[in-house]
Protein backbone atom coordinates (compact mmCIF):
# COMPACT_ATOMS: atom_id res chain seq x y z
CA UNK A 1 0.00 0.00 0.00
CA UNK A 2 1.29 3.45 -0.87
CA UNK A 3 0.87 4.92 2.59
CA UNK A 4 2.87 2.03 4.04
CA UNK A 5 5.61 2.66 1.53
CA UNK A 6 5.75 6.32 2.38
CA UNK A 7 5.74 5.49 6.08
CA UNK A 8 8.55 3.03 5.55
CA UNK A 9 10.63 5.49 3.58
CA UNK A 10 9.94 8.10 6.24
CA UNK A 11 11.17 5.70 8.89
CA UNK A 12 14.26 4.87 6.82
CA UNK A 13 14.99 8.52 6.38
CA UNK A 14 14.63 9.12 10.11
CA UNK A 15 17.01 6.26 10.88
CA UNK A 16 19.52 7.57 8.35
CA UNK A 17 19.35 11.02 9.91
CA UNK A 18 19.80 9.54 13.37
CA UNK A 19 22.87 7.62 12.19
CA UNK A 20 24.38 10.67 10.52
CA UNK A 21 23.84 12.88 13.55
CA UNK A 22 25.21 10.16 15.82
CA UNK A 23 28.44 9.93 13.86
CA UNK A 24 28.78 13.70 14.07
CA UNK A 25 27.79 13.99 17.73
CA UNK A 26 29.27 10.80 19.16
CA UNK A 27 32.81 12.10 19.83
CA UNK A 28 31.33 15.01 21.73
CA UNK A 29 28.98 12.72 23.63
CA UNK A 30 31.87 10.46 24.61
CA UNK A 31 33.84 13.43 25.88
CA UNK A 32 30.90 14.82 27.82
CA UNK A 33 30.24 11.36 29.27
CA UNK A 34 33.87 10.94 30.28
CA UNK A 35 33.96 14.35 31.94
CA UNK A 36 31.09 13.34 34.22
CA UNK A 37 32.55 9.93 35.04
CA UNK A 38 33.96 9.57 38.58
CA UNK A 39 36.58 7.00 37.39
CA UNK A 40 40.07 8.46 37.47
CA UNK A 41 41.03 7.42 33.97
CA UNK A 42 39.56 8.37 30.64
CA UNK A 43 36.74 5.86 30.12
CA UNK A 44 33.32 5.46 28.65
CA UNK A 45 30.49 4.78 29.39
CA UNK A 46 30.32 6.61 32.75
CA UNK A 47 29.65 4.59 35.90
CA UNK A 48 28.35 7.49 37.94
CA UNK A 49 28.02 11.26 37.86
CA UNK A 50 30.39 13.88 39.24
CA UNK A 51 31.41 17.47 38.58
CA UNK A 52 34.74 16.92 40.34
CA UNK A 53 36.75 17.09 37.11
CA UNK A 54 35.26 20.48 36.31
CA UNK A 55 36.32 21.75 39.71
CA UNK A 56 39.80 20.36 39.11
CA UNK A 57 39.95 21.94 35.67
CA UNK A 58 39.08 25.31 37.18
CA UNK A 59 41.79 24.85 39.77
CA UNK A 60 44.50 23.92 37.26
CA UNK A 61 46.39 27.12 36.31
CA UNK A 62 47.74 25.50 33.12
CA UNK A 63 44.18 25.29 31.82
CA UNK A 64 42.79 28.54 33.19
CA UNK A 65 45.82 30.57 32.05
CA UNK A 66 45.80 29.03 28.60
CA UNK A 67 42.04 29.53 28.37
CA UNK A 68 42.48 33.23 29.09
CA UNK A 69 45.34 33.42 26.60
CA UNK A 70 43.20 31.76 23.94
CA UNK A 71 40.30 34.12 24.57
CA UNK A 72 42.63 37.13 24.47
CA UNK A 73 44.29 35.88 21.30
CA UNK A 74 40.99 35.09 19.58
CA UNK A 75 39.60 38.52 20.50
CA UNK A 76 42.68 40.35 19.25
CA UNK A 77 42.93 38.32 16.04
CA UNK A 78 39.22 38.82 15.36
CA UNK A 79 39.44 42.56 15.95
CA UNK A 80 42.52 42.88 13.75
CA UNK A 81 40.94 40.81 10.96
CA UNK A 82 37.72 42.83 11.05
CA UNK A 83 39.56 46.14 11.04
CA UNK A 84 41.67 45.24 8.02
CA UNK A 85 39.41 42.71 6.32
CA UNK A 86 36.34 44.97 6.12
CA UNK A 87 38.00 47.67 4.01
CA UNK A 88 39.80 44.98 1.99
CA UNK A 89 36.57 43.15 1.25
CA UNK A 90 34.94 46.46 0.32
CA UNK A 91 37.72 47.31 -2.12
CA UNK A 92 37.70 43.82 -3.65
CA UNK A 93 33.93 43.82 -4.12
CA UNK A 94 33.48 47.42 -5.27
CA UNK A 95 36.47 48.01 -7.48
CA UNK A 96 36.78 45.01 -9.73
CA UNK A 97 40.16 46.00 -11.06
CA UNK A 98 42.21 43.23 -12.69
CA UNK A 99 45.12 44.34 -10.51
CA UNK A 100 43.15 43.37 -7.40
CA UNK A 101 42.56 39.77 -8.51
CA UNK A 102 45.94 38.45 -7.30
CA UNK A 103 45.36 40.23 -3.98
CA UNK A 104 42.01 38.51 -3.72
CA UNK A 105 43.60 35.08 -4.21
CA UNK A 106 46.41 35.94 -1.79
CA UNK A 107 43.97 37.00 0.92
CA UNK A 108 42.02 33.78 0.61
CA UNK A 109 45.07 31.49 0.25
CA UNK A 110 45.46 30.63 3.96
CA UNK A 111 42.22 28.63 3.65
CA UNK A 112 43.80 26.19 1.21
CA UNK A 113 47.37 26.12 2.54
CA UNK A 114 47.71 23.37 5.20
CA UNK A 115 47.95 25.04 8.60
CA UNK A 116 51.07 23.06 9.43
CA UNK A 117 52.89 24.54 6.42
CA UNK A 118 51.68 27.97 7.41
CA UNK A 119 52.87 27.32 10.98
CA UNK A 120 56.40 26.38 9.97
CA UNK A 121 56.58 29.36 7.63
CA UNK A 122 55.35 31.74 10.28
CA UNK A 123 57.78 30.37 12.87
CA UNK A 124 60.70 31.01 10.53
CA UNK A 125 59.32 34.42 9.68
CA UNK A 126 58.82 35.34 13.35
CA UNK A 127 62.39 34.40 14.09
CA UNK A 128 63.60 36.30 11.05
CA UNK A 129 61.94 39.55 12.08
CA UNK A 130 63.03 38.98 15.67
CA UNK A 131 59.71 38.65 17.48
CA UNK A 132 60.29 34.96 18.21
CA UNK A 133 57.59 32.75 19.71
CA UNK A 134 54.94 34.25 21.95
CA UNK A 135 51.83 36.39 21.81
CA UNK A 136 53.05 38.64 18.97
CA UNK A 137 53.84 35.66 16.74
CA UNK A 138 50.57 33.96 17.70
CA UNK A 139 48.62 37.10 16.91
CA UNK A 140 50.34 37.40 13.54
CA UNK A 141 49.58 33.75 12.79
CA UNK A 142 45.96 33.90 13.88
CA UNK A 143 45.49 37.14 11.95
CA UNK A 144 46.62 35.35 8.78
CA UNK A 145 44.41 32.40 9.69
CA UNK A 146 41.22 34.37 10.36
CA UNK A 147 41.51 37.08 7.69
CA UNK A 148 40.26 34.91 4.78
CA UNK A 149 37.06 34.04 6.66
CA UNK A 150 36.41 37.70 7.36
CA UNK A 151 37.16 38.80 3.80
CA UNK A 152 35.03 36.04 2.28
CA UNK A 153 32.06 36.68 4.52
CA UNK A 154 32.17 40.42 4.01
CA UNK A 155 32.59 40.24 0.25
CA UNK A 156 29.25 38.48 0.16
CA UNK A 157 27.78 41.11 2.49
CA UNK A 158 28.98 43.94 0.27
CA UNK A 159 27.73 42.25 -2.87
CA UNK A 160 24.24 42.26 -1.33
CA UNK A 161 24.57 45.92 -0.38
CA UNK A 162 23.36 48.28 -3.13
CA UNK A 163 25.99 50.83 -4.08
CA UNK A 164 23.19 53.29 -4.95
CA UNK A 165 22.55 53.62 -1.20
CA UNK A 166 26.05 55.08 -0.86
CA UNK A 167 25.39 57.53 -3.66
CA UNK A 168 22.05 58.44 -2.12
CA UNK A 169 23.82 59.16 1.17
CA UNK A 170 26.43 61.29 -0.58
CA UNK A 171 23.70 63.26 -2.32
CA UNK A 172 22.30 63.86 1.18
CA UNK A 173 25.49 65.62 2.31
CA UNK A 174 27.12 62.57 3.91
CA UNK A 175 30.92 62.61 3.85
CA UNK A 176 32.76 59.29 3.37
CA UNK A 177 33.04 58.59 7.14
CA UNK A 178 29.33 59.32 7.60
CA UNK A 179 28.50 57.00 4.69
CA UNK A 180 30.54 54.27 6.39
CA UNK A 181 29.21 54.65 9.89
CA UNK A 182 25.59 55.58 9.25
CA UNK A 183 24.85 53.68 6.05
CA UNK A 184 27.29 50.90 5.22
CA UNK A 185 28.08 49.45 8.65
CA UNK A 186 24.49 49.32 9.97
CA UNK A 187 23.53 47.38 6.85
CA UNK A 188 26.30 44.80 7.06
CA UNK A 189 25.96 44.05 10.78
CA UNK A 190 24.86 40.43 10.16
CA UNK A 191 27.92 39.91 7.95
CA UNK A 192 30.22 41.53 10.51
CA UNK A 193 28.81 39.35 13.29
CA UNK A 194 29.19 36.12 11.42
CA UNK A 195 32.66 37.14 10.25
CA UNK A 196 33.60 37.88 13.85
CA UNK A 197 32.26 34.57 15.08
CA UNK A 198 33.93 32.59 12.29
CA UNK A 199 37.20 34.32 13.06
CA UNK A 200 36.85 33.81 16.80
CA UNK A 201 36.03 30.10 16.55
CA UNK A 202 38.80 29.50 14.00
CA UNK A 203 41.36 31.17 16.22
CA UNK A 204 40.06 29.71 19.46
CA UNK A 205 40.23 26.10 18.26
CA UNK A 206 43.47 26.19 16.32
CA UNK A 207 46.29 23.77 17.21
CA UNK A 208 48.21 23.14 13.99
CA UNK A 209 49.44 26.70 13.65
CA UNK A 210 49.63 27.69 17.30
CA UNK A 211 51.82 24.75 18.23
CA UNK A 212 54.73 26.31 16.33
CA UNK A 213 54.22 29.79 17.68
CA UNK A 214 53.55 29.39 21.41
CA UNK A 215 56.37 30.14 23.78
CA UNK A 216 57.20 27.44 26.31
CA UNK A 217 55.73 29.31 29.25
CA UNK A 218 52.36 30.27 27.75
CA UNK A 219 50.39 27.91 25.51
CA UNK A 220 46.94 28.43 24.08
CA UNK A 221 44.20 26.17 25.39
CA UNK A 222 44.10 23.77 22.41
CA UNK A 223 47.90 23.42 22.53
CA UNK A 224 47.75 22.86 26.28
CA UNK A 225 45.13 20.17 25.79
CA UNK A 226 47.11 18.57 23.01
CA UNK A 227 50.15 18.42 25.28
CA UNK A 228 48.11 17.16 28.23
CA UNK A 229 46.56 14.27 26.34
CA UNK A 230 50.01 13.03 25.40
CA UNK A 231 51.11 12.20 28.93
CA UNK A 232 47.98 11.78 30.98
CA UNK A 233 44.55 10.25 30.74
CA UNK A 234 43.14 12.48 33.45
CA UNK A 235 39.37 13.15 32.90
CA UNK A 236 40.05 16.81 33.75
CA UNK A 237 40.89 17.10 30.08
CA UNK A 238 37.44 15.80 29.19
CA UNK A 239 35.95 18.49 31.42
CA UNK A 240 37.99 21.16 29.68
CA UNK A 241 37.01 19.76 26.28
CA UNK A 242 33.35 19.80 27.30
CA UNK A 243 33.66 23.45 28.29
CA UNK A 244 35.21 24.20 24.89
CA UNK A 245 32.35 22.36 23.19
CA UNK A 246 29.84 24.41 25.17
CA UNK A 247 31.55 27.72 24.38
CA UNK A 248 31.94 26.90 20.69
CA UNK A 249 28.43 25.49 20.48
CA UNK A 250 26.98 28.64 21.99
CA UNK A 251 28.87 30.72 19.47
CA UNK A 252 27.74 28.60 16.50
CA UNK A 253 24.19 28.88 17.77
CA UNK A 254 24.67 32.63 17.62
CA UNK A 255 25.74 32.42 13.96
CA UNK A 256 22.64 30.45 13.19
CA UNK A 257 20.48 33.03 14.88
CA UNK A 258 22.17 36.13 13.55
CA UNK A 259 22.71 35.23 9.94
CA UNK A 260 21.74 32.64 7.45
CA UNK A 261 24.49 30.06 7.86
CA UNK A 262 23.92 28.44 4.48
CA UNK A 263 24.26 31.70 2.62
CA UNK A 264 27.70 32.36 4.04
CA UNK A 265 29.34 29.00 3.49
Amino acid sequence: MPWQNSRLSLLGWALFQLAAYSVLALPSLVIIGASLNPASTFSFPPRGLTLAWYVKAMETPAFTDSFLLSVELACLATALSLLTGTPAAYALQRYRLPALQPLHSLLLSPIVIPAIVLGIGLLMFANLIGIGQGLAALLLGHFVLTLPYVVRTLISSFSLFDVVLEEAAQSLRASRPVVWFRVILPNIIPGLLSAAIFAFVTSFGNVALSIFLVSGSAATLPVQMFAAVEHSSDPTLAAVATLVILVTGAIVLCIDRLANLQRLI
Binding site: D162, V164, L165, E167, A168, A169, Q170, S171, L172, R173, A174, S175, V178, R182, V183, P186, N187
Partner: protein, 355 residues
Protein backbone atom coordinates in the same frame (compact mmCIF):
# COMPACT_ATOMS: atom_id res chain seq x y z
CA UNK B 1 30.20 105.40 -2.36
CA UNK B 2 28.29 103.90 -5.21
CA UNK B 3 26.08 100.91 -4.90
CA UNK B 4 27.72 97.79 -6.25
CA UNK B 5 26.44 96.79 -9.64
CA UNK B 6 23.54 94.36 -9.32
CA UNK B 7 24.81 90.82 -9.66
CA UNK B 8 22.85 89.04 -12.34
CA UNK B 9 21.20 85.97 -10.86
CA UNK B 10 23.21 82.89 -11.70
CA UNK B 11 21.49 79.87 -13.18
CA UNK B 12 20.91 77.08 -10.67
CA UNK B 13 23.11 74.82 -12.76
CA UNK B 14 25.48 75.66 -15.57
CA UNK B 15 27.59 73.28 -17.59
CA UNK B 16 30.32 74.98 -19.53
CA UNK B 17 31.87 73.12 -22.50
CA UNK B 18 31.85 69.84 -20.61
CA UNK B 19 33.36 66.74 -22.18
CA UNK B 20 33.57 63.26 -20.72
CA UNK B 21 35.64 60.48 -22.19
CA UNK B 22 35.68 56.88 -21.09
CA UNK B 23 38.97 55.75 -22.57
CA UNK B 24 38.57 56.29 -26.31
CA UNK B 25 34.81 56.68 -26.12
CA UNK B 26 33.43 60.20 -25.84
CA UNK B 27 30.29 60.10 -23.69
CA UNK B 28 29.85 63.88 -23.83
CA UNK B 29 31.32 66.39 -26.23
CA UNK B 30 31.54 70.09 -25.39
CA UNK B 31 28.16 70.20 -23.78
CA UNK B 32 26.96 73.55 -22.45
CA UNK B 33 23.68 74.01 -20.65
CA UNK B 34 22.12 76.55 -18.30
CA UNK B 35 19.25 75.60 -16.03
CA UNK B 36 17.59 78.74 -14.68
CA UNK B 37 16.20 78.73 -11.15
CA UNK B 38 12.79 77.19 -10.76
CA UNK B 39 12.79 75.45 -14.12
CA UNK B 40 12.00 71.79 -14.74
CA UNK B 41 14.33 70.57 -17.46
CA UNK B 42 14.20 67.12 -19.04
CA UNK B 43 17.25 65.52 -20.56
CA UNK B 44 15.76 63.25 -23.20
CA UNK B 45 17.50 60.86 -25.52
CA UNK B 46 18.09 57.23 -26.42
CA UNK B 47 20.23 55.09 -24.14
CA UNK B 48 23.90 55.94 -24.46
CA UNK B 49 23.19 59.55 -25.48
CA UNK B 50 24.98 60.91 -22.41
CA UNK B 51 21.93 62.11 -20.44
CA UNK B 52 22.71 60.05 -17.34
CA UNK B 53 26.38 61.01 -17.55
CA UNK B 54 25.29 64.65 -17.62
CA UNK B 55 23.17 64.16 -14.50
CA UNK B 56 26.00 62.37 -12.68
CA UNK B 57 28.38 65.19 -13.61
CA UNK B 58 26.04 67.70 -12.00
CA UNK B 59 25.73 65.46 -8.92
CA UNK B 60 29.49 64.95 -8.74
CA UNK B 61 29.49 61.16 -9.06
CA UNK B 62 31.66 61.53 -12.15
CA UNK B 63 34.00 64.34 -13.04
CA UNK B 64 34.32 65.83 -16.51
CA UNK B 65 37.40 65.20 -18.65
CA UNK B 66 37.22 68.87 -19.69
CA UNK B 67 34.93 71.77 -18.90
CA UNK B 68 33.40 73.12 -15.72
CA UNK B 69 30.27 72.58 -13.66
CA UNK B 70 28.65 75.47 -11.79
CA UNK B 71 25.93 75.31 -9.17
CA UNK B 72 24.39 78.64 -8.22
CA UNK B 73 27.30 80.38 -9.87
CA UNK B 74 30.00 78.57 -7.88
CA UNK B 75 32.47 76.31 -9.65
CA UNK B 76 31.91 72.86 -8.13
CA UNK B 77 33.86 70.85 -10.71
CA UNK B 78 36.35 69.65 -8.10
CA UNK B 79 33.88 69.21 -5.25
CA UNK B 80 32.61 65.80 -4.09
CA UNK B 81 28.83 65.18 -4.17
CA UNK B 82 28.28 65.85 -0.47
CA UNK B 83 29.64 69.39 -0.80
CA UNK B 84 27.34 70.25 -3.72
CA UNK B 85 23.94 71.63 -2.97
CA UNK B 86 22.01 68.93 -4.82
CA UNK B 87 19.23 66.47 -4.18
CA UNK B 88 18.94 63.26 -6.11
CA UNK B 89 16.31 60.61 -6.73
CA UNK B 90 17.41 57.39 -8.37
CA UNK B 91 15.72 54.81 -10.59
CA UNK B 92 14.94 52.79 -7.49
CA UNK B 93 13.97 54.60 -4.31
CA UNK B 94 17.28 53.64 -2.61
CA UNK B 95 15.87 54.36 0.84
CA UNK B 96 18.04 53.37 3.77
CA UNK B 97 16.50 50.04 4.81
CA UNK B 98 17.71 50.31 8.41
CA UNK B 99 16.06 53.70 8.98
CA UNK B 100 12.40 54.60 9.37
CA UNK B 101 10.71 56.93 6.90
CA UNK B 102 11.19 59.80 9.35
CA UNK B 103 14.89 59.03 9.82
CA UNK B 104 15.39 58.69 6.06
CA UNK B 105 14.02 62.18 5.53
CA UNK B 106 15.96 63.54 8.50
CA UNK B 107 19.26 61.95 7.36
CA UNK B 108 20.53 64.84 5.24
CA UNK B 109 19.75 67.55 7.77
CA UNK B 110 21.77 65.74 10.44
CA UNK B 111 24.76 65.88 8.10
CA UNK B 112 24.58 69.66 7.74
CA UNK B 113 23.99 70.26 11.43
CA UNK B 114 20.39 71.42 11.48
CA UNK B 115 19.19 71.57 15.10
CA UNK B 116 16.87 68.83 16.27
CA UNK B 117 13.63 70.80 16.76
CA UNK B 118 14.10 72.40 13.34
CA UNK B 119 14.78 68.98 11.80
CA UNK B 120 11.62 67.54 13.30
CA UNK B 121 9.58 70.47 12.04
CA UNK B 122 10.93 70.25 8.52
CA UNK B 123 10.56 66.46 8.28
CA UNK B 124 6.95 66.67 9.45
CA UNK B 125 6.17 69.46 7.00
CA UNK B 126 7.85 67.62 4.11
CA UNK B 127 6.10 64.32 4.87
CA UNK B 128 2.80 66.21 4.91
CA UNK B 129 3.67 67.76 1.54
CA UNK B 130 4.20 64.34 -0.04
CA UNK B 131 1.07 63.05 1.76
CA UNK B 132 2.93 60.58 3.98
CA UNK B 133 2.39 62.37 7.27
CA UNK B 134 1.12 59.26 9.05
CA UNK B 135 3.83 56.91 7.84
CA UNK B 136 6.91 58.42 9.50
CA UNK B 137 7.39 55.47 11.82
CA UNK B 138 7.18 52.87 9.05
CA UNK B 139 10.19 51.22 7.48
CA UNK B 140 10.81 51.41 3.72
CA UNK B 141 9.98 47.72 3.17
CA UNK B 142 6.50 48.40 4.58
CA UNK B 143 5.69 50.96 1.88
CA UNK B 144 4.43 50.56 -1.69
CA UNK B 145 6.70 51.47 -4.62
CA UNK B 146 4.99 54.81 -5.14
CA UNK B 147 5.19 55.66 -1.44
CA UNK B 148 8.88 54.75 -1.38
CA UNK B 149 9.59 57.04 -4.32
CA UNK B 150 7.70 59.85 -2.56
CA UNK B 151 9.91 59.35 0.52
CA UNK B 152 12.96 59.53 -1.75
CA UNK B 153 11.66 62.83 -3.11
CA UNK B 154 10.92 64.16 0.37
CA UNK B 155 14.38 63.12 1.56
CA UNK B 156 16.01 65.11 -1.24
CA UNK B 157 13.70 68.14 -1.20
CA UNK B 158 13.77 68.67 2.57
CA UNK B 159 17.34 69.98 2.15
CA UNK B 160 16.08 72.66 -0.26
CA UNK B 161 18.78 71.82 -2.77
CA UNK B 162 19.85 74.24 -5.49
CA UNK B 163 18.86 71.57 -7.95
CA UNK B 164 16.87 68.37 -7.74
CA UNK B 165 18.26 65.62 -9.97
CA UNK B 166 15.88 62.86 -11.03
CA UNK B 167 17.40 59.83 -12.75
CA UNK B 168 14.48 58.07 -14.49
CA UNK B 169 12.65 58.12 -11.16
CA UNK B 170 9.44 56.57 -12.50
CA UNK B 171 10.94 53.67 -14.39
CA UNK B 172 10.51 51.21 -11.52
CA UNK B 173 6.78 51.97 -11.24
CA UNK B 174 4.00 50.35 -13.25
CA UNK B 175 2.49 52.29 -16.15
CA UNK B 176 -0.52 53.76 -14.37
CA UNK B 177 1.40 54.78 -11.26
CA UNK B 178 4.13 56.26 -13.46
CA UNK B 179 1.71 58.74 -15.01
CA UNK B 180 0.21 59.57 -11.63
CA UNK B 181 3.65 60.08 -10.05
CA UNK B 182 4.94 62.33 -12.80
CA UNK B 183 1.92 64.62 -12.43
CA UNK B 184 2.53 64.65 -8.70
CA UNK B 185 6.23 65.41 -9.08
CA UNK B 186 5.53 68.24 -11.49
CA UNK B 187 3.00 69.78 -9.12
CA UNK B 188 5.38 69.34 -6.18
CA UNK B 189 8.47 70.90 -7.75
CA UNK B 190 6.43 73.80 -9.07
CA UNK B 191 4.82 74.28 -5.68
CA UNK B 192 8.26 74.37 -4.03
CA UNK B 193 9.78 76.26 -6.97
CA UNK B 194 12.53 73.65 -7.01
CA UNK B 195 14.90 73.69 -9.95
CA UNK B 196 14.80 70.19 -11.38
CA UNK B 197 16.74 68.20 -13.93
CA UNK B 198 15.01 64.99 -14.97
CA UNK B 199 16.61 62.30 -17.09
CA UNK B 200 14.32 60.12 -19.15
CA UNK B 201 14.25 58.10 -22.35
CA UNK B 202 10.46 58.34 -22.41
CA UNK B 203 9.51 61.18 -24.78
CA UNK B 204 5.91 61.25 -23.60
CA UNK B 205 7.13 61.73 -20.04
CA UNK B 206 9.45 64.54 -21.10
CA UNK B 207 6.77 66.34 -23.11
CA UNK B 208 4.25 65.94 -20.30
CA UNK B 209 6.35 67.15 -17.42
CA UNK B 210 9.07 69.53 -18.64
CA UNK B 211 9.19 73.29 -18.90
CA UNK B 212 12.10 72.77 -21.27
CA UNK B 213 13.30 69.65 -23.04
CA UNK B 214 16.93 69.05 -23.90
CA UNK B 215 17.10 66.42 -26.63
CA UNK B 216 20.45 64.64 -26.59
CA UNK B 217 22.09 62.27 -29.03
CA UNK B 218 25.60 60.78 -29.09
CA UNK B 219 26.93 63.02 -26.34
CA UNK B 220 25.64 66.25 -27.84
CA UNK B 221 22.60 68.45 -27.46
CA UNK B 222 20.40 68.22 -30.56
CA UNK B 223 17.82 70.78 -29.54
CA UNK B 224 16.62 72.71 -26.50
CA UNK B 225 13.11 74.07 -26.30
CA UNK B 226 9.65 74.02 -24.81
CA UNK B 227 7.90 70.65 -25.35
CA UNK B 228 5.65 72.11 -28.06
CA UNK B 229 8.66 73.65 -29.88
CA UNK B 230 10.49 70.35 -29.79
CA UNK B 231 7.47 68.57 -31.23
CA UNK B 232 6.26 71.19 -33.71
CA UNK B 233 9.54 72.69 -34.83
CA UNK B 234 12.19 69.97 -34.75
CA UNK B 235 15.48 71.33 -35.94
CA UNK B 236 17.20 68.13 -36.96
CA UNK B 237 16.25 64.83 -38.52
CA UNK B 238 17.15 63.13 -35.24
CA UNK B 239 14.74 65.22 -33.19
CA UNK B 240 11.99 64.89 -35.81
CA UNK B 241 12.41 61.12 -35.81
CA UNK B 242 12.95 60.63 -32.08
CA UNK B 243 10.08 62.75 -30.77
CA UNK B 244 6.82 61.27 -31.92
CA UNK B 245 6.46 59.88 -35.42
CA UNK B 246 7.50 61.83 -38.44
CA UNK B 247 7.59 61.38 -42.19
CA UNK B 248 10.96 62.49 -43.53
CA UNK B 249 10.74 62.94 -47.30
CA UNK B 250 13.88 63.62 -49.35
CA UNK B 251 13.58 66.92 -51.20
CA UNK B 252 15.38 69.46 -53.31
CA UNK B 253 15.20 73.21 -53.18
CA UNK B 254 12.77 74.39 -55.88
CA UNK B 255 14.43 77.76 -56.29
CA UNK B 256 11.46 79.77 -55.06
CA UNK B 257 11.08 80.88 -51.42
CA UNK B 258 9.57 78.34 -49.06
CA UNK B 259 9.16 75.75 -51.79
CA UNK B 260 10.74 72.36 -52.34
CA UNK B 261 10.41 69.55 -54.85
CA UNK B 262 9.83 66.05 -53.58
CA UNK B 263 9.58 62.62 -55.22
CA UNK B 264 7.81 62.66 -58.54
CA UNK B 265 8.37 66.38 -59.06
CA UNK B 266 5.65 67.47 -56.62
CA UNK B 267 6.07 71.02 -55.46
CA UNK B 268 5.47 71.57 -51.76
CA UNK B 269 4.99 74.87 -49.99
CA UNK B 270 6.70 74.72 -46.63
CA UNK B 271 7.10 76.79 -43.48
CA UNK B 272 10.75 77.75 -43.77
CA UNK B 273 13.28 78.57 -46.47
CA UNK B 274 15.32 75.52 -47.39
CA UNK B 275 18.85 75.89 -46.07
CA UNK B 276 20.81 74.17 -48.84
CA UNK B 277 19.97 72.41 -52.08
CA UNK B 278 19.08 69.03 -50.68
CA UNK B 279 17.50 67.82 -47.47
CA UNK B 280 14.29 66.36 -46.15
CA UNK B 281 10.91 67.77 -45.31
CA UNK B 282 9.43 66.64 -42.01
CA UNK B 283 5.65 66.08 -41.85
CA UNK B 284 3.90 64.70 -38.75
CA UNK B 285 1.44 61.88 -39.60
CA UNK B 286 -1.48 63.80 -38.07
CA UNK B 287 -0.82 66.84 -40.28
CA UNK B 288 -1.56 64.89 -43.45
CA UNK B 289 -5.31 65.17 -43.98
CA UNK B 290 -7.77 64.07 -46.64
CA UNK B 291 -7.83 66.77 -49.35
CA UNK B 292 -10.88 68.96 -49.41
CA UNK B 293 -10.86 70.68 -52.79
CA UNK B 294 -7.78 72.21 -54.37
CA UNK B 295 -4.90 73.32 -52.18
CA UNK B 296 -1.25 73.96 -53.03
CA UNK B 297 0.00 70.92 -51.17
CA UNK B 298 -2.09 68.15 -52.69
CA UNK B 299 -0.49 64.70 -52.82
CA UNK B 300 -1.91 61.70 -54.63
CA UNK B 301 -1.11 58.51 -52.74
CA UNK B 302 -2.16 54.87 -52.64
CA UNK B 303 -3.30 53.12 -49.47
CA UNK B 304 -1.06 50.18 -48.53
CA UNK B 305 -2.20 49.18 -45.09
CA UNK B 306 -4.45 50.11 -42.16
CA UNK B 307 -3.83 49.91 -38.45
CA UNK B 308 -6.95 50.58 -36.40
CA UNK B 309 -6.12 52.09 -32.99
CA UNK B 310 -9.53 53.01 -31.59
CA UNK B 311 -9.98 56.76 -31.89
CA UNK B 312 -7.22 57.04 -34.53
CA UNK B 313 -6.34 54.94 -37.53
CA UNK B 314 -2.85 54.71 -38.98
CA UNK B 315 -2.63 54.53 -42.76
CA UNK B 316 0.48 53.41 -44.53
CA UNK B 317 0.45 54.97 -47.97
CA UNK B 318 2.79 55.22 -50.94
CA UNK B 319 3.58 58.38 -52.85
CA UNK B 320 5.11 56.67 -55.86
CA UNK B 321 8.15 55.04 -54.24
CA UNK B 322 7.91 56.97 -50.98
CA UNK B 323 6.21 55.33 -48.03
CA UNK B 324 4.39 57.60 -45.59
CA UNK B 325 2.42 57.21 -42.40
CA UNK B 326 -0.85 59.06 -41.89
CA UNK B 327 -2.67 59.40 -38.60
CA UNK B 328 -6.38 60.02 -39.20
CA UNK B 329 -9.39 60.15 -36.91
CA UNK B 330 -10.98 56.73 -37.32
CA UNK B 331 -14.26 58.32 -38.47
CA UNK B 332 -12.48 59.78 -41.52
CA UNK B 333 -10.66 56.55 -42.31
CA UNK B 334 -13.91 54.60 -42.48
CA UNK B 335 -14.70 53.30 -45.95
CA UNK B 336 -11.13 53.49 -47.23
CA UNK B 337 -9.75 50.31 -48.72
CA UNK B 338 -6.34 48.93 -49.54
CA UNK B 339 -5.10 49.89 -53.00
CA UNK B 340 -7.45 52.85 -53.17
CA UNK B 341 -5.98 56.12 -54.49
CA UNK B 342 -6.25 58.97 -52.03
CA UNK B 343 -5.92 62.73 -52.30
CA UNK B 344 -4.08 64.23 -49.32
CA UNK B 345 -3.10 67.72 -48.40
CA UNK B 346 -0.93 69.31 -45.76
CA UNK B 347 -0.88 72.83 -44.38
CA UNK B 348 2.46 74.47 -45.37
CA UNK B 349 2.83 75.68 -41.77
CA UNK B 350 3.38 72.05 -40.72
CA UNK B 351 5.99 71.17 -43.32
CA UNK B 352 9.56 72.01 -42.43
CA UNK B 353 12.77 71.65 -44.34
CA UNK B 354 15.62 69.98 -42.44
CA UNK B 355 19.14 69.92 -43.86
Amino acid sequence: MRDPAPIPQSPAVALSAVSKNYGEVAALELLSLDVPCGELVCLLGPSGCGKTTTLRLIAGFTSPTRGRVFIEGADVTAKPPHLRNIGMVFQHPALFPHLSVFDNVEFGMRNIGVAKPERRKRVDAMLATVRLADLGARYPRELSGGQQQRVALARALVLRPAVLLLDEPFSSLDAQLRIHMREEVRALVHQLNATTVLVTHDQEEALAIADRVVVMNKGRIEQIGAPSDIYDVPQSRFVAGFIGRCNLLPCKSAGAARTVTIEGGHLLSIANDPAGDKGVVAIRPEHLVLANGQSPNNLRVEVLQFTYLGSRTHLHVALQNLKMLIDLPSAEAKGLSIGQPLELSVDPAFVRFLP
